[in-house]
């Protein structure tokens, strides 16, 4: 398993729980879940590039 695959699996499971527990209606749960997933995965990609550029 690559680090990025692990990030995506982690983001998926955590986003499902956050979406269901932090919002009240199914539509808002879905939107918040997607929002959390994008933030998890997006921040991992951005931080990876930052670390890559720092290490050069």
């Amino acid at each position: 398993m690559t680090h990025f695959t692990a990030v995506l699996i982690f983001a998926l499971f955590a986003s499902v729980v956050f979406g269901i527990t932090q919002r009240e209606t199914p539509k808002r749960m879905l939107r918040y879940g997607i929002y959390c997933f994008v933030l998890f995965a997006g921040s991992a990609i951005v931080l990876s590039w930052v670390m890559f550029l720092i290490a050069r």
Binding site: M1, H3, A6, I9, F10, L12, F13, A14, V16, V17, F18, I20, T21, E24
Partner: protein, 136 residues
């Protein structure tokens, strides 16, 4: 004085017979069980799949199941593991997880198991809020 929807929901839930902390305890012991008890089958199934999936992924990555704590970080990790409820107990009895982390993926696996426990606690508290009417 006008009654807000949340107050109405709370009053309706409080009038339900039975032990008010049952969904909280059941949800902690078995992921999703608190929501199942309240008839929230879809939410319960998704929560159970996510939490058990994260725990199983952690075990598959050779993550560590903490049994004792020697410093503050170990205590935090053990607390996270205990959030898994019966999954932790079954894992310990079955001898799942490793005693010493020797690979990078095993370190990630340990974090998966701990976060699964913390997410399970959030789900159990959500079930309690549904039971008390704090959440619709």
């Amino acid at each position: 004085m006008a009654t807000t929807p949340n107050n109405t929901a709370a009053a309706k839930q409080d009038s339900k017979p039975g032990f008010v902390y049952l969904p909280l305890i059941a949800g902690w012991l078995v992921p999703g069980a608190g929501h199942f008890l309240l008839g929230k089958w879809g939410r319960g199934a998704l929560l159970a799949a996510s939490i058990v999936g994260m725990f199983a992924t952690g075990i598959a990555m050779q993550g560590r199941l903490y049994s004792s704590a020697h410093d503050i970080l170990d205590i935090l990790c053990l607390a996270g593991d205990l959030g898994n409820g019966l999954l932790y107990v079954v894992g310990r009895i079955a001898g799942l997880g490793v005693d010493q982390v020797q690979m990078t993926t095993a370190d990630w696996g340990s974090r998966f198991i701990e976060v699964a426990g913390l997410l399970n606690v959030i789900a159990a508290v959500d079930a309690h809020n549904l039971r008390t009417g704090r959440k619709a």
